[in-house]
Amino acid sequence: MRSPSDAVDRPDLTQPPAAAPRRRLSLAALPAYAAAVESACLSLGAIAVALLLFGVFVALGGHDPIAVYKALYVGGFGTRFSIEGTLTQASPIILTALCTAVPARVGLLVIGGEGALVLGGLAAVLCATAVAAAPGPIGALVALLGGVCVGALWIAAVGALKHWRGVNETISSLLLNYIAIAIFNHLISGPVRDFSQTLKATSWTVPPAFGIGSMPGWSVHWGLVVGVSLCLVLFVVLRYTTVGFSMDILGGNRRAAQVAGLPIGRLLILACVIGGGAAGLAGAIEVLAVHGAASESLIVGFGYTGILVAFLARQNPLAVIPVAVLVGGISASGGLLQRRFGMPDATTQVLQGLIFLCVLASNAFAGRIAGVSRST
């Protein structure tokens, strides 16, 4: 590397060093934090723009936008009751968001959270039935593990197909959602159906002893704590361990990962297993804590909302928590909007869609604010 001209450029050590140019104290000096601050600013800005557009939208429909904003706040966060509703909504969304966020770290855009959630819920019912005689906590644990395993396997298939056959992961996970829902509907309307429930097709009921209860003093089930803990653990693991670092390398530059000799296949599948396991867990918790059985009420789009949350959180497990609470709040306020203004229940879907579009558009400004390079 050294060339003769290097000698010429070498500083003359006999002279006192010239005063170093004063470094401007900027966010760019702290790249990791700058990126985080910038992401947060972009996401908040996108939400603000989306709310503004939403205000225009409802004003066009003849409603007072300020009153609608207030109702959004009151319905999501205004009272203790609404906060409980919000957190109950947020609990599965936190987990399904991980199904997109974790594979995104290795560069996969997986949208199969809905399928993994649905099958996870079904697996929880089957496992609970298999060990119906077990004591409560053990039975619940078995049911939850069953959900995790099925969800993990379901999304692992996506990663495996990508790695060994080059099948596009977005499309395969999308197709698997439909296949999962078909399997789910097939089983709950026949082989595992509880025929005493005539109103709608419902699976066998989980033994009540296995149910997940509420936290003391709150009508929010423990599933929320599970989701939040998983996010915290994943944040630490992805950020401070070798595995997490390897995943980031792979996600950032596949060639670099290859050259560094990283086990690409294993990393891809591990990320899918974690994500799918989280979504499967979401389904199992919904069954054990909310519904008590697997039925259509499990297919309400938590998986798709999770994709929105993952993008809004910019694939960061820590940011998933507040974002899921925010989005859960928007969903939870739908009822109030419906009652107070007679708005359709799809109103909150419109707002969520607007937020999603604005967040993606805000990516165009990434790296321009703090002067750091784009992370995703």
Binding site: Y178, I183, Q349, A364
Partner: protein, 309 residues
Amino acid sequence: MTDAHGIGWLGIVLAIVGGALRVSTPYLYVSLGEVLTEKSGRVNLGLEGVLLMGAMSGFAAGSLTGSPWLGVLAAGVAGGLLGLLHAAICNLPHVNDIAVGIALFLFGMGLAFYLGKPFIAPRAAMLPALPFGFWSSEPAVRAALEISPLFLIGIVLAIVLRWALANTRWGLLLRMAGESADAARALGYSVNTIRTLATMCGGFLGGIGGAFLSLYYPGNWNEALSSGQGLMAIALVIFARWNPLRCLYASLLFGGASALGPALQTVGITAGYYLWSAAPYVLTLALLIYSSSTRHTLAGAPSELSISR
């Protein structure tokens, strides 16, 4: 079992053929729309939202004006506008078109359900059906061969698109934007403009596919109208290897596969109804697994496409 319902097993075949002819039309339109978009180098995963908006606008315009054909036009325009939204966001730097598609899916669905709420009750004027089964006295044959004019237009469109992509200046430009954006830029064309127009045309066709659902079959507007036909567009296009003419065959095949479950139900076979309904998805996944490779991109895929890289 065979003679329980008059014409027996022939009834199943007829039900599948009739179902394929009916169900395949939305598939045909969304896949033709998606081919146009993808040939220009972008993926629009949001055609499900476009389809639903098209279905809602078509039904609304149809019931307000009394003319189903104005409904079809309104559906196309609504779809084209959503396509424009997709393209406008994708034209920004650093934006992932697949993610925008997912967002468009959620947004279009929410918007359609929001705006379509007042129209759930009334009925609109339906599109007419052409009785191609007039020669038969068998009602099942007549029912199976009732064909929507939209289907015939779709067939013509597939042939025209196939020809235009291969033989016209516009087709060449579109393919150039999809195969090599640099080449298009070097010749002084704006890749973003080409892709915007392609996505808008794709949205227009997707919207018409939705109008078929709300104005012909099943012929009403409700929130459970679509069963994912729009999402299937992307799979259909891979199945058809980016060829509009093959989109026609693929749509018929998928329509037939979707009609399997209901057809078997007509002769009393209800077991596995839901599993049969997953047949198109399993078919596509199997084909994807078979034709994908880690070494080369899918045959026929435009090379600028994010899913083929």
